[in-house]
């Protein structure tokens, strides 16, 4: 077994283990951390497939941004885990059955007899100095320009939708208005009152 193959199995085994842990942990923070582990291992797999840019993007975007956000939300919200879990055991038999059926189908359809190395030859190794990022950029901005533009529009719609659905002026919110804060004068806030001295009661 070559070293690369060995690495593949190591990454794959940890990936599957982490994925199982994600859905079986009671504590959502643990689940999220195992998901991070799963992402790191899939990034490793991509690295083995010479897709360096995707591997880095996965770590940067998913681990660095999405999962941090996710953890943030999990910690901020007070979620009753027991309530969420209630359906899990009840639905587990059906879910397991479906999962097993899916695995069998997958093995039949995308198993090694159809997509093995003798069916689909491995791509030739890239020469030294080959830049994955550059090639990807070229493809994105030439061949897939149209798709790239539509993806940009989708992001714009995401922004419009998020702002449109959440931003609203509520009369009871407390917010600071910096321009009013800096233009405030001492006499607006402080009133000096002349009064006679009080006698001790």
């Amino acid at each position: 077994m070559s070293f690369e193959k060995f690495l593949f199995y190591v990454f794959a085994a940890i990936l599957v283990f982490a994925a199982v842990m994600v859905i079986t942990r009671k504590n959502p923070v643990h689940s999220a951390l195992f998901l991070v582990l799963a992402f790191f291992n899939s990034a490793g797999l991509w690295m083995l497939a010479e897709a360096e840019f995707l591997a880095i993007a996965l770590v940067l975007v998913y681990v660095g941004a999405v999962m941090v956000l996710f953890l943030f939300v999990v910690m901020m919200l007070d979620i009753n885990i027991a309530e969420l879990r209630a359906g899990f055991v009840r639905n587990a038999p059906v879910a397991i059955l479906v999962a097993i059926a899916m695995v069998i189908e997958l093995v039949i359809v995308v198993g090694p007899q159809r997509f093995g190395l003798d069916e689909v030859a491995a791509p030739a190794a890239k020469p030294a100095g080959y830049s994955n990022t550059e090639e990807l950029g070229l493809a994105l901005f030439t061949q897939h320009l149209y798709a790239f533009e539509i993806a940009a529009v989708i992001l714009l719609v995401g922004i419009v939708a998020a702002i449109g659905l959440t931003m609203r002026r509520r009369p009871d919110t407390k917010s600071q208005d910096p321009s009013r804060q800096v233009t405030v004068k001492a006499k607006d806030r402080l009133r000096v009152i002349k009064m006679d001295a009080e006698e001790k009661a």
Binding site: H144, L145, A147, I150, A151, V153, V157, V160, A161, G164
Partner: protein
């Protein structure tokens, strides 16, 4: 390829609509509550401009752009014009409703325009990647629109259901696409079709992918057994959104099916034909039967949509140009009919009263004879009563099915349409023979009334002279 104005001409409607939507988004920021209607006017102008540019770019030839990811052909021209015009109706009907509910905000029309753009992208898609991105663009706009009325709990619930099930459907579709890509190694439809026709692709993987694609498409169409979201979303969404959701996207869904199944996997027709037969029969049966039991008119129309989707599938599964023509005719006329049907319901709404029950239609003739007559035409068209257009749409579909020797399927379709006629005619009976419960005067602005009259009379007009529209649809497939 070189990018200049001449080479980009086929994509002008999309480019124009995108620029217009972005411009309106910015202009809207500077508008106050009183001048908000400018956004509405500009959105209508954007749609009208896109229609003009579609006509300008139209032609009998097939043009491929952007490295094979975009196609402009006669079919896309017809569908785009139909789609843009029906969106125009949807935008006009929405205005009064939004004002009454006090939710007239610029984002409504901007999201609507982006949704229309997504549908245009789907219609003109020539690769799996484009079709998927167009679908997502449309879906994202629709999710946000369904949740647009933020004070409505039902709206939020509907949006959540729609979002989760829509994501599931996208996942299915994407999974199927990945299978087909794995089997053929190609993303653009003509190349995929070429590889499949060449017999080089692995048949098992291909059919497996096809199943997932058909499942994804039926989810988006709302065909039984993937219809669970339709009634809840139709009921929970603001009526103006239901109107938009239930009309124009049916044309886009037709285009999606045409592109994926016919352009991409036309030689697998025998496989998908059987799948579509099951979906069509189940949709017609369940849609028509369950609609009878509904007391909420939006829910009733949702089940009616499901049954009409069955009819569109019926035309598609014939697998002939005649069938595609009939299905296209059906999709366009149904979208127009649905727009009118929901349009009447939006016109019954007023401040603090959201008409959504069947008995809100009672005595409509006493309140507004003209509106009742329009609704009569629309209901008759949905039921398929001659001389309205719905009759001819059904006739052409049945004719196409019979000409491929599937008489039993035509009989099933007729049987369930007769059952379906019951609840449409019941609505007509309520309008004309029952006493009104609610006697508040119906006030609609001029533009809504004009559009509603055009919409209702179009049911009659296309019914009396179906040849013009049918000829246009036929020309789309003769090339």
């Amino acid at each position: 390829m070189e990018y200049n104005l001449a080479s980009l001409q086929p994509a002008l409607p999309e480019i124009f609509l995108l620029s217009a939507a972005c411009l309106i988004l910015v202009i809207d920021l500077f508008l106050t509550e009183r001048t908000r209607l400018l956004t509405y006017g500009l959105s209508l102008a954007a749609l009208a401009g896109a229609v003009a540019l579609t006509l300008y770019a139209a032609g009998p030839e097939r043009e491929i752009l952007f490295h094979g990811s975009f196609v402009r052909d006669p079919m896309s021209d017809v569908l785009k014009i139909g789609l843009l015009l029906i969106s125009l109706f949807a935008f006009v009907y929405a205005k009064d409703y939004l004002i009454e509910l006090d939710i007239l905000r610029g984002e409504y029309y901007v999201l609507g325009l982006f949704g229309v753009l997504g549908m245009l992208v789907m219609i003109s898609a020539n690769s799996f990647l484009t079709v998927y991105l167009g679908l997502e663009l449309l879906a994202l706009c629709l999710y946000a629109l369904v949740a647009f009325h933020r004070d409505s709990g039902a709206g939020a619930e509907a949006a959540m259901k729609y979002f989760v099930l829509g994501a599931l459907a996208s996942g299915m579709l994407l999974y199927g696409i990945s299978m087909v890509y794995g089997a053929t190694g190609q993303l653009t439809f003509p190349e995929v079709a070429g590889v499949i026709a060449g017999g080089d692709a692995d048949q098992t993987v291909l059919v497996f992918g096809l199943v997932f694609i058909v499942v994804g498409v039926s989810f988006k169409f709302g065909a039984v057994p993937f219809h669970m979201w339709v009634p809840d979303v139709y009921q929970g969404a603001p009526t103006s959104v239901t109107l938009f959701l239930g009309s124009a996207p049916k044309i886009a869904a037709f285009a999606l099916t045409m592109r994926l199944l016919v352009d991409g996997m036309g030689s697998l027709v025998e496989q998908w034909q059987n799948m579509l037969i099951i979906l069509a029969v189940l949709s017609m049966a369940l849609g028509n039967v369950v609609a009878i039991a509904q007391s909420n008119v939006k829910r009733m129309l949702a089940y009616s949509t499901i049954s009409h989707v069955g009819f569109i599938f019926l035309g598609l599964l014939a697998g002939t140009d005649k069938g595609y023509t009939a299905a296209m005719f059906y999709a366009i006329t149904y979208a127009l009919t649905a727009a009118g049907g929901f349009g009447v319901i939006t016109m019954l709404c007023r401040k603090g009263f959201d008409a959504e029950n069947l008995h809100d239609l009672k005595g409509l003739n006493d309140r507004s004879p003209w509106l009742a007559f329009m609704m009569l035409l629309i209901m008759f068209s949905m039921a398929g009563v001659p001389p309205t257009v719905g009759f001819f749409a059904k006739l052409f579909v049945l004719d196409a099915v019979i000409s491929v020797d599937m008489v039993w399927l035509a009989l099933v379709a007729v049987f369930f349409s007769i059952i379906g006629a019951f609840y449409y005619i019941r609505a007509v009976k309520m309008m004309y023979f029952d006493k009104p419960i609610d006697t508040a005067p119906l006030a609609a602005s001029m533009d809504t009334q004009v559009m509603m009259s055009i919409n209702g009379l179009a049911m009659l007009g296309f019914g009396l002279f179906p040849a013009a529209l049918l000829g246009t649809c036929r020309a789309a497939f003769s090339g």
